[in-house]
């Protein structure tokens, strides 16, 4: 009798742990509590909102990368796309081209970069790691060549940019609102639509998906486009706030975006992951950063702490998955 009961309660427990985002949620809560205890300023609205703004920029990129990673591919060029798309916008405005046209052109360019990454990867069957490593360098090179290494400053005030980088209410910025909206949209697409299903299947078992008649190349290609599109959009939110593009903008972002996704439970190997997890992952990286400053930790330790959080989160995620699978 006892045995039956314990199996029953284990099933109940595993049901809760079956939530994909459990690892991210636990991590999020733990970090939140620890920093709230360490520093009273941490839970002030001002800090939480500015931390959220920081998370938003990274998070928008990470949502795109999560979609792509689930479908079994990588994109290392997001950091360069993050800088090149707003550069196009800035150059259009500075050259007296209609800013809205410049915006459309920039966004299209972002999507087009994804299209190229996808086409080259899928047609030539080289790993996307290599393709996008190449496009990362190529795009950064283009950026350096065009700017000559100088920062590009926006020369006039463009009202509509307010809806990307400006303040919405209080300390909440529009970039944060975009982050929430996009997270909801893509969580819905991933979990509730056919395309989401195909994405999981393509990354989980490519051959089986092909056998089932899924056009896996098309699924991957669309996710490549989504990924670059999001990186470009995130770049525009940053540019809209700072009105300047330094030639190094976005460098190293690809790894942090991948880290957000992994902390949120997404697999490097594809086939498994969650947008809500990534959302929390990006927020967690932001919290660790501002939390450590507010706790008065020695400045040179941030990177080390983020590294530790990344590894612990990955361990928790793997353990939970094994529990639920077994």
């Amino acid at each position: 009798m006892m045995e039956v009961k314990s199996i029953g309660s284990f099933k109940e427990l595993s049901k809760i742990f079956k939530i994909k985002e459990m690892g991210a949620i636990i991590g999020f809560v733990v970090i939140f509590i620890v920093f709230s205890i360490l520093s009273p300023e941490f839970i002030s609205w001002g800090n939480l909102l500015s931390t959220f703004t920081m998370a938003a920029e990274l998070g928008i990129v990470a949502i795109g990368i999560t979609m792509l990673m689930i479908s079994g591919e990588f994109d290392l060029s997001v950091g360069s796309t993050f800088a090149v798309v707003p550069m196009v916008l800035a150059l259009s405005i500075n050259n007296k081209i209609n800013p809205f046209l410049g915006f459309i052109f920039g966004i299209f360019l972002g999507a087009f970069i994804g299209y190229l990454n996808g086409i080259v990867t899928l047609k030539t069957e080289i790993p996307s790691f290599i393709t996008t490593l190449g496009s990362m360098m190529f795009l950064r090179g283009i950026l350096l060549a065009i700017t000559g290494g100088f920062p590009i400053m926006l020369q006039e005030d463009i009202p509509f940019l307010k809806y990307f980088g400006g303040v919405c209410i209080g300390g909440l910025r529009y970039s944060g609102i975009w982050f929430i909206i996009l997270a909801i949209i893509f969580a819905f697409i991933l979990e509730r639509t056919k395309f989401g299903n195909w994405t999981f299947a393509t990354g989980g078992n490519l051959l089986a998906s092909k056998a089932l008649g899924i056009n896996t190349n098309k699924v991957k290609l669309i996710n490549f486009i989504i990924c670059s599109f999001m990186a470009g959009l995130a770049g525009i939110t940053t540019f809209a706030r700072f009105k300047i593009i330094d030639p190094t903008l976005g460098q190293g972002m690809e790894l942090e975006a991948i880290a957000s996704a992994v902390i949120g439970g997404t697999f490097l190997s594809g086939g498994y992951g969650s947008i809500i997890g990534t959302f929390l992952g990006a927020f967690m990286i932001g919290m660790v950063r501002s939390g450590l400053v507010l706790a008065g930790a020695p400045a040179y330790w941030y990177r080390a702490f983020i590294g530790i959080v990344l590894i612990i989160a990955a361990i928790i995620n793997t353990k939970i998955r094994k529990k639920t699978a077994g």
């Binding site: 300023e41 920029e57 190094t248 972002m253 501002s290 507010l294 400045a299 040179y300």
Partner: protein, 318 residues
Amino acid sequence: MKRFFPLLILILLISLLVFPAYSQAKRYKIYVVSHGGPADPFWGVVMKGMKDAAAKFGVTAYYLGPEKFSIKEFIDLLESAIAKKPDGIVVTITNPVALDEPLRRAIKMGIPVIAINVPDDRPPEKAIPYLCYVGMDEYLAGVYAARRMLQEFTPKRAVIAIHEPGHAGLEARAKGISDVLGEKKIPVEKLDIGTDPTKALTTLKAYLQKYPDTDAIFTLGPLGAHPAIQLVEEEKLVGKVKIGAIDLTTRITDAIKRGVVVFTIDQQQYLQGYLPILFLKLYLDYGLIPQEKVLTGPFVVDKNNVNKVEETVKKGYR
């Protein structure tokens, strides 16, 4: 074919007229080898200095630098410059250990060497025996920055925003600042802000929240200065929190005019291209050479001279 030969002779005659250098006395050939590529705006100014001096003193000067930062490629370029047996080499001592062997070989061959931009910072008995160094002292840049801030006011607490911890030049600047402020018992701390503007701004903001008595921010390059300017303006802290910067960009000079940034430090790299050519010419002709260090910076840019500086930036002298 009949028309071809007169044409050839004509071309030869014209080329003799156009390039009198080949028919006249030998011109000095000098190579400037740096770790910075010609597309880098900073090195563009150095190149202009080099070209201007070469034209003025009748010297032929060549600029070599890798497109993208790479010690290996830089050394390869230096090797090819040495192989040409020039009359002088001007070189950045970006990595003293890697440059030690080729430069000592060049000096042994009798090629005079002048260091620019980055000196050999090892003790004198171990350092490469180049003729002299022309450039800025990074530590001194920090010292000048802190002193200029102290002229403005005595901060209650200062923070040094470092965007690339571990970068030897930036760390030396930071040390200069903290040494001067430390003497005055002003609490000062380094803050790792990273290179992303949003992250840098949020990190600085969190620091100001943690230590609200902070009234001075030192930035060590544009990647620190730009977000700091944005933060101070967004949070309406102009006048309450003062920024001291190092390096020149239009965003920084603009902010100096608006009173958001008190000053910035320039290393006048035009002189790092110009002076070595002049010095080598004097050395080759008369054996004259300045000793040890000729400092081109730190030069303080503030409200008093910002307009003049801005003009010369546009003309490519800064």
